[in-house]
Structure formats: structure tokens, C-alpha cells
């Protein structure tokens, strides 16, 4: 049977009424648990996986796929509405999404996230079905030096994309980098900056930092404004649905996000969050509405959300073709597959085609179900914002704390949450962007380890970093991204410059 026939067969069995019901239940459960702050998709899947064990293989695969996609979408919902990202991949979503929600555009933000996730999930799942064996070859070409070049590109594009001032963006980034070196060094096992505190040995948890900086910092900031702040958050301004302009601005961002997210998700050491960073940076450069970025630009939600979902499908590429789980969610999925006698590995597509195609078909169905479930719910979600401010922020504080304690039950972790919350508040007061801190915390260790591995393999020869074609291209793009604005500035195209200078006062 050809690839296409297998897929059709899988779709046919997944579309039976009973299986559709399982998909709906899975998506509902996944979304419901996924919206709890601090609980990302990995934990959602781990919590709900046992629910699927009682069904037959097809039914359980379908429900499982529903839980997976539902959990991911649930995480985006809290990012947008409450500014509490449940996992590192939805941090970027919170940036513009929450601003949109604050401006009464929560409906379109949630809609573009849902439709973007659907579009990206659809395309990426089809890519998974048809070109996984080729993509995985490409992913394996990525060695330490290529990863390092990718990180350099991410640093350059991201640090200039967050906030209006490069200086302030870089300052925030370096604060994040400083925090990222805390803990045991992975390559030598030596302690760094842990000051004998065992809780610091494993470094600073990204989600703790993100929730603290975004949710706690924001809450303190709002509380400190007291009655001087804007009176109420306007829950709905205009339509709850996306208008023509929103569609026009979203669809390209969805496609770009998919193209960026899928290959990065397929790389064994890529990580979903890097795709979302790059997508955000790309959207900010390409947009016709640069003034809206930082104040709720719809592209800034559409692109990263698509990248996030595409990269989740990309994660399945090494999982299904090599048996390599590259994220926590993928590892839990692996346990799930083994339950059905599916042993992911290089021979899987040959030995178990029915189950593989069943899974891929299930992912497509779950993706559709997610849209069916969530679009009508958007109206309900945005009502959350009509809760009076003191109640809303008190609730955010409670959920942020619960989420952190739930993920990492330790008093020290709670202390870190509050301390970073204070830091987030101080940075807000002095106008420093928050996101680069979290970006530095995520990218710092990746860049450092890959650089050191590359140099160890080459025995200290630095030229090796530029001699691989992929690395050279990535570094060249990074160099252009860094130098081009400087040249434009030198030539006196002063609008951007003066704007920057003004904001640096």
C-alpha cells in the first residue's frame, strides 16, 4: 500500500462516530487541564495518559492525540488571558497575546492562536506523514557547530526584537544569561554559582522564572499603580471574532511560523521555544504595523503559536523515525506508544504501518476537533477578563503560585518565584523588557554547551565554527541581521534611530 492509502485508511477508521467522540473527550480533557497555569502539555499528557489505557488501541491513540493537542492549546489560553505561560514554548504568545487581551481583543487573539495552531498542525502533520525520513536526515546533519550558529542567530534576532531599545533589550538578555549559568555544568559536572544551595544545583527552572516575571511582576505593577491605573480592563472591544484585517495579517504569519517551527522541532536538540522566538523576530521585522508590536500585534500571536504547534509535530519526526524522544512530552508519548506495542525506532514505518498511520490520522482528527471545541468557547474565555481587577489579579497570583508549587514542590522554589516577581516588577518600573531575561535563561546553556562541544570535537580549532555550510549560512544571516540596522543608522535614516534614542532617555 502506498503512503496515501495508509493515511486514508487511518482517517477512515478515525472518523467513525465512536472515535470522533473519543477525540472530543480527549481534546476537552486536555484543554481543561492545560489551562491550569504552570501545567504545560507534558504534565497534562502524563496526568491524563492513564485515562486512555482502557480503550482499544485505535480509540486510545485518538484520545491521546486529542489530549496532546488540547493540552498545548490550553497552555496558550492562559498565556493570552492571564499572562501565565505554562511552558517555555508559549512565553512568546503571552507577549503580544496578553496585550491584545488587555485591549479588548482577547477574542481575536484566541482565535488566531486556535486557527494558527490548526493550520500549522495540519501542514506539519502532513509533512510528518510524507517527508519525515528526509527531514530526519537533515536534522541529524545538525551537529554542535550548527546548533551553535542557530543559537547565535536566535540571540541576534531575538534581542533586537524585544522592546524598543537595543541597549535595554541586551541588558535584560544578559541578566537572563547570568541566571542561566547557575547550577551544575552539564559537560564537566562542576558546580557554578550554586553557593552550596542544593535547590540551585539543577539551575533555575524556566517556567518558574517566566511565571514570576510575567504574572507576579505584572500583578505587583498593577497593584502599585493603585487607583491611578486604567480603571477596568475592557473585555471585548469590537467583535469577539477576527475581522478581515486580522485574517489578512494572520495567514502569512501562520505559514511562516509553520515553516520555521517544523524543522526546528525535528532537530534532536532544537526545542520548541527557539522556533517561537525566531518566528516572533521574523514577524516583527516583516510587519507593516511595527508600532503595534509590544502593544498587541496579532502577527506576534499568530506566528509563534503556529511555530509552537508545527514544532510539536516536528518532535514526532525523530520520535517515530529514530525512537528518540527529544522533549518531555515526547518521552511520555513514547511510554504511551509502548502501551500499544508500538516500539518507535528506525524500523517502525516498515513494521507497524497501521499504527503509525493511525496515529497520524488521529493527530489530524484531534486537530480538527480542537478547532470545533475551542472557537465557540472563546466567547466564554474572554468573559474571564470581565472579573473586577482586584479579583482577577488575586486569582492570577493564586494560580501562578499553585502552578509553581505543583510543578516543583519546594519552599525554595516559592522563594525564587517571589524574588523574580520583584525583579520583574522593578524591571517594569524602569522600562526594561522582560522577555529577553527568559530567552537568555533558555538559550544561554544551549549555546554554551554546543560551542564547547564543537570546540572539543575540533580540538580547539575555532575555524570549524565557520567551515560547515549550514553553520556558515546561519552565521552570515546573523551577521546581516546585526550589521544592517547599524548601516541604515549610519546613513542617517533617522526615524528608527531617533525613536530609539528617545526611548533610551
Amino acid at each position: 500500500m502506498s503512503t496515501f492509502e495508509f493515511l486514508l485508511q487511518g482517517l477512515a477508521s478515525a472518523a467513525e462516530p465512536m472515535n470522533l467522540l473519543y477525540a472530543l473527550i480527549g481534546v476537552t480533557l486536555g484543554t481543561a487541564v492545560g489551562v491550569l497555569p504552570g501545567i504545560g502539555p507534558a504534565l497534562t499528557v502524563a496526568l491524563l495518559l492513564p485515562v486512555t489505557y482502557r480503550l482499544d488501541p485505535t480509540g486510545s491513540l485518538i484520545m491521546f492525540a486529542g489530549i496532546y493537542y488540547g493540552g498545548m492549546y490550553g497552555g496558550s489560553t492562559t498565556s493570552i488571558l492571564l499572562n501565565t505561560p505554562g511552558e517555555s514554548a508559549s512565553i512568546v504568545t503571552a507577549l503580544e497575546g496578553n496585550k491584545m487581551a488587555r485591549n479588548g481583543r482577547g477574542g481575536p487573539a484566541l482565535a488566531t492562536a486556535a486557527i494558527g495552531s490548526f493550520v500549522a498542525g495540519l501542514i506539519a502533520t502532513l509533512l510528518l506523514a510524507f517527508i519525515a525520513p528526509y527531514i530526519v536526515k537533515l536534522a541529524l546533519v545538525f551537529g554542535p557547530r550548527e546548533y551553535f550558529a542557530l543559537m547565535v542567530l536566535a540571540f541576534v534576532t531575538v534581542s533586537s526584537a524585544f522592546g524598543d531599545s537595543t541597549l535595554r533589550g541586551l541588558t535584560s538578555l544578559f541578566i537572563g544569561l547570568a541566571f542561566s549559568v547557575v547550577g551544575i555544568d552539564q559537560l564537566t559536572g562542576q558546580n557554578r554559582l550554586s553557593f552550596g544551595v542544593p535547590d540551585l544545583l539543577d539551575g533555575i527552572e524556566v517556567t518558574t522564572m517566566a511565571v514570576a516575571m510575567f504574572a507576579i511582576g505584572e500583578t505587583l505593577y498593577i497593584a502599585a499603580q493603585g487607583n491611578r491605573g486604567p480603571e477596568t480592563v475592557e473585555a471585548v472591544k469590537g467583535s469577539v471574532w477576527m475581522n478581515a484585517a486580522d485574517w489578512a495579517r494572520s495567514w502569512k504569519a501562520w505559514l511562516r511560523g509553520t515553516v520555521i517551527g517544523f524543522p526546528i522541532g525535528a532537530m534532536p536538540a532544537g526545542g520548541a521555544e527557539i522556533g517561537t522566538f525566531l518566528s516572533y523576530a521574523a514577524e516583527k521585522r516583516l510587519t507593516k504595523h511595527p508600532e503595534e508590536f509590544g502593544n498587541g500585534a496579532i502577527e506576534g500571536v499568530a506566528g509563534p503559536e503556529a511555530a509552537n504547534n508545527a514544532s510539536a509535530a516536528g518532535t514526532l519526526v525523530p520520535l517515530l523515525t529514530l525512537g528518540l524522544p527529544t522533549t518531555a512530552t515526547a518521552a511520555i508519548m513514547l511510554a504511551g506508544f509502548q502501551q500499544y506495542g508500538l516500539q518507535p525506532g528506525p524500523l517502525l514505518f516498515a513494521t507497524n504501518p497501521q499504527l503509525v498511520w493511525g496515529l497520524i490520522a488521529s493527530l489530524l482528527i484531534a486537530n480538527l476537533m480542537l478547532l470545533v471545541l475551542n472557537l465557540p468557547l472563546i466567547g466564554l474565555w474572554v468573559k474571564l477578563l470581565t472579573i473586577p481587577k482586584p479579583w482577577l489579579y488575586a486569582g492570577i497570583l493564586v494560580f501562578a503560585t499553585l502552578g509553581t508549587i505543583g510543578a516543583n514542590p519546594s519552599v525554595f522554589e516559592l522563594g525564587m518565584l517571589l524574588t523574580f516577581g520583584l525583579l520583574g516588577y522593578v524591571m517594569r518600573v524602569f522600562g526594561y523588557p522582560i522577555a529577553p531575561v527568559v530567552v537568555g535563561l533558555i538559550l544561554g546553556p544551549l549555546a554554551e554547551q554546543q560551542l564547547r562541544r564543537a570546540l572539543a570535537i575540533s580540538q580547539g580549532d575555532v575555524t570549524v565554527l565557520f567551515t560547515s555550510p549550514i553553520a556558515a549560512v546561519l552565521l552570515a544571516v546573523a551577521a546581516i541581521a546585526l550589521i544592517l540596522p547599524l548601516i541604515l543608522r549610519a546613513r542617517g535614516r533617522g526615524e528608527v534611530l531617533s525613536q530609539m534614542a528617545a526611548s533610551e532617555d
Binding site: A32, I184, A331, G406, S410
Partner: protein, 314 residues
Amino acid sequence: MKHVFLASLLAGALALPAYAADYTIMAPAAPGGGWDQTARSLQTALQEEGISGNVQVINVPGAGGTIGLAQFASQQKGNPNALIVGGYVMVGAILTNNAPVTLKEVTPIARLTGEYEAIVVPASSDIENIGQLVDKLKADPGSVSWGGGSAGGTDHIAVGLLAKAAGVDPTKINYIAYSGGGEALAAILGSQVTAGISSYGEFESQVKAGTLRLLALSSEERVEGIDAPTLKESGYDVVLQNWRMVAAAPGLSDEQKAAVLADVDKLAKSNTWQETLKTKGWADTYLAGPAFEEQLAKDIAATETVLKDIGLVK
């Protein structure tokens, strides 16, 4: 409506502890590697045998398991439902890294299984056998990069032992540490490193699919069903077994410890677990209680000598 909604959210959040596992098993490594597989196999077997209704696995990767061990020792103290998977890699890593938290700070329960180290190269490599690889190592130790698990772990020790047995200065080896078996495997498959070293089980499916070439095993004698020479018969006197164990949290009472031991004992003798060992190709080296603690102390002492010999510990 919104109150109902908030209330249900809150109820959901508060209800979470009800989902909490009877056992939570920490795999102190990235997903996909040997400890992760052991933890997940334990999870399945404990549930299927009805020993524990709901078991969860969490991954805390890094530094030969010492990061996970430190977190486990500090956060799970006195918790009779917490287990951690570990092994010989941890023994070496603790010594090499001079880790602040050692195996003395957990409660060892039982040794479950053991695997031999396998040396592989990608199928595209021009190295055909272990002799050619060692010749290359002799010619220029730095030019052979080895991809494997954490610094100072079994994989690292095995490379050091092989270098020493081949008459190469073990301090000159070029070992690239990855935090988990999965990440190392990707680097080997992608020809990022010259050779890979890890437990055989982590390479098995790739070897069978022909994407990796198996050069040698670190067993005493040839293993049935595996088509590769031992290091010993190839003329390098290196025999190394990478065993895996399960330990409980520190600060347990005698009754709590006995209860965990009873559960693990029941598991080790169950059909599900025996079946798992067979399918995964793991040898049954079950050893529990005081006998295991004694053996562990011996292993720690022996490893320290080995690490000093090959210059990984000063």
C-alpha cells in the same frame, strides 16, 4: 457562570493531588536514555502487576544523574512514595564531579539489571573493526571523539579503561559528554563524533536497522544473539557492566523501607518484569537489601581506584 467556571478551575487544581501517583519515579537523565527506559519499564510493570495503581515518571537530566540525585535527596526526604533510578554511572559521576550529594543520602533498595557497554560507529564510517579504531586512537588520541553519557560516567570510564589497556594516555582522550542517551545517539547517527559508547540497549534498534556498526562489547564472554567480539578477546582487557538500581528517599523509617523493599521484591519476581528484561535484553542481576548495600560500597571503592588510575579523579 464565571463563578462556576472559577470554582471548577479551583476544584480542578485542588483535585490534582488526588491524581498523585502511589509511586513517583525520578529518572535522573534526559528522556530516551537507559535510566529513563528503566524508570518507564518499572512504571509499566508496577501498574500491570497491580503493585501500585498509578505511577509517574519525571526526568531531571544532567551531570551523570547528580543533578537529579541532589534534587531527589533534598525534596523527597521522608517521602515513602518516591523512588529514583540510578546506577553505576552515578557512582562514577559523583566521584568525578566531587558532587555534594552522594548515594549515602538516599536509601538504596535493589540492583535490578545490568547492561554491557557497546562501542559503535555510524554505518558511513570507514572504521570497520575495533582494531582500526584503537589504531587511530594510538596514532592521535585527540582525533577520536567519543560521544557518550555524562562526564565521569560508565561510558567515560570505559573509554578511559580502553585507552589504558591499549597503552594510550587516558588523560588525552577526547570525550564529548551528552546529558542523555538520546542526545548522544543523535550525535553518533549524524557522524558528529568518531565513535559512540553506551549501553548496548541504547544502540540495539539502530544496530539491527544497519544505521550503526557495532564494533565491540565490554562483556566477559560473547553475548548470545549479539554479533560482536568482546573487548577482551580483541586483546584489550576491559570488562565493565553498567548496572542499574532503584533507591528510595532518605529519612525513611524501618517499616517504610521494608514496605518499599517488599514492593520492589514483588516486582522483580513478577512475570511482567521478567518479560521486560527479556525484550529489552537486560540481564537479571537482581540484588536487594543489605546484600546490595554491601555490594554498592564495594563498587564505590573499586570505581574510585579505577577513576584515579585513569586520571579522572585526582
